[in-house]
């Protein structure tokens, strides 16, 4: 059975924001919605605070931490973890939040009543956005794929794993080309898939496993320094 997941190599991520932009355009996202956020992180406590991001209110991305010249500067992209045991699934009263057979967790905009229960239940803060009013866009023209997710007031939106693209045999927007070669996706149950090969032999971390959600995003850890 296909089980889609992601691997993100924290050593290769340079915080360039290509993946966030690819997602934003391909999905024609409104101004205040980001499915994917690349955080600047100044420690190696991956389960602690995700870090800071301009899109989440920080003044600047990529300020280091520590004391010069002994500093730390890392980048961590966070989007929906498409968990094996999603806490959002249980608490959605309408069944808008669903998990496909291939593992993709998605929200049906027609069924979402905007109660926000999924946001409160999800241990990965910031991956879901509840739209207050009508969506506002940066451009007057529609951009992105013709079957981009629907955007409207009062619903919750999050990463769809670009199922619209996957279902047509194409590549999720954020996965198409990461300049650092940090992002991988595919069938976690297939040992020959790109994502499985990326994970093989690497030390990795899965976020906040104590919450019991069994996330399907593998964060490949930076190698030890000499």
């Amino acid at each position: 059975m296909t089980r889609y997941g992601m691997a993100i190599d924290l050593y290769r991520c340079i915080g360039c924001q290509a993946c966030t932009t690819a997602c934003k355009i391909s999905n024609n996202l409104p101004k205040d919605i980001s499915y994917n956020v690349v955080y600047t992180k100044t420690d190696h406590d991956w389960d602690g605070s995700f870090g800071t991001a301009v899109v989440k209110g920080a003044l600047a991305n990529d300020n280091a931490g520590g004391t010069f010249p002994n500093c730390i500067l890392e980048f961590m992209p966070i989007q929906c973890q498409h968990c094996e045991n999603p806490s959002c699934l249980r608490v959605c009263p309408t069944g808008a939040t669903q998990k496909r057979d291939d593992g993709i967790v998605w929200v049906d905009p027609e069924l979402c009543i905007g109660c926000g229960a999924c946001i409160m239940a999800c241990p990965y803060e910031g991956v879901r956005t509840l739209s207050e009013g009508d969506p506002e866009y940066y451009l007057d023209v529609v951009v992105g794929e013709y079957d981009a997710p629907k955007h409207m007031a009062g619903i919750v939106e999050k990463c769809t794993f670009c199922k619209n693209l996957i279902d047509r045999g194409e590549v999720p927007a954020c996965m198409d080309l990461c300049p650092g070669r940090a992002r991988y996706w595919g069938d976690l149950d297939d040992p020959n898939s790109e994502v499985s090969k990326a994970i093989e032999g690497r030390k990795y971390h899965k976020l906040r496993e104590g919450a019991g959600t069994a996330p399907n995003v593998y964060y490949l850890l930076p190698p030890e320094r000499s």
Partner: protein, 251 residues
């Protein structure tokens, strides 16, 4: 105004309603009350306003019927229970109005559903693994015991002289003592996950200590001011603690 204000209204008013029914069942009036329909009506109205509160919590309230689709969801369970409770309260109201008194069996069934309701409200928060402050066992008794305490206090207003009865004041003291302990544990848990517990401790003082003081005074020498003082202490105290609870919302 916290983001979860509509939910705060729902659980407080709905909880007050449920607690009132449980108090009615546990401490039936000695003689036939002058207005037997008043308590059921109060409970029904409180529940109704509370459920309206849920509607305001939804960004797309016109679609609220969809909220019944997923039985594992706390909101859906609260909806099912609320509807059943509402129907029972309506029946109770009509029977009280017509017959002049509340039949014991009906009252106990309604009280049982009310108790379930308070558990559901508390239990719903345990699924919120994203909000460490809420996903803790202390949340359940915070709601259940708080609702019972509020119900007892309201019953003291609506049921003549119940506060003069020792069993009632004793029960009050015990419930408020348990509530105080639960609030303390909740506050400590909040602190341990980095959330502000100030309002919860404030609630502990007002509802727990204040309420117990009034109940002890009532035991010693019943007076007419005590019912009003009790409901004020308990309601304000529980509201403070709930407000503090909801303020931990990550939304």
């Amino acid at each position: 105004m916290i983001s979860e204000f509509p939910l705060f209204i729902f659980t407080t008013l709905g909880g007050l309603s449920a607690g009132l029914v449980m108090a009615m069942a546990a401490f039936p009036p000695a003689e036939k009350p002058a207005r037997p329909w008043l308590a059921p009506l109060t409970a029904l109205v409180l529940l109704g306003i509370g459920m309206l509160g849920v509607l305001f919590h939804l960004k797309r309230p016109a679609l609220f019927l969809l909220a019944l689709r997923n039985p594992t969801a706390g909101i859906a369970q609260e909806a099912y229970c609320g509807i059943v409770l509402g129907v029972l309260l309506l029946v109770l109201l009509i029977v009280c109005w017509r017959k002049g008194e509340a039949p014991k069996a009906l009252v106990w069934v309604t009280a049982a559903v009310s108790l379930v309701m308070t558990f559901i409200m508390g239990f719903a928060y345990l699924a919120n693994v994203g909000t460490a402050a809420w996903a803790n066992w202390t949340t359940i008794p915070l709601f259940v015991v708080g609702d019972i305490a509020m119900g007892l206090a309201l019953w003291a207003i609506l049921s003549k002289d119940v506060l003069a009865k020792r069993p009632f004041t004793l029960a009050n003291i015990v419930v408020l003592a348990v509530l105080a302990v639960v609030m303390l544990l909740t506050g400590l848990h909040f602190g341990s996950v980095g959330n502000d517990a100030m309002l919860i401790y404030a609630g502990l003082v007002v509802a727990g200590l204040g309420g117990i003081a009034v109940s002890v005074a009532a035991q010693k020498a019943p007076a007419s001011w005590q019912a009003g003082a009790l409901i004020a202490c308990v309601l304000v105290g529980v509201c403070l603690s709930r407000y503090g609870f909801y303020a931990a919302s990550i939304i």
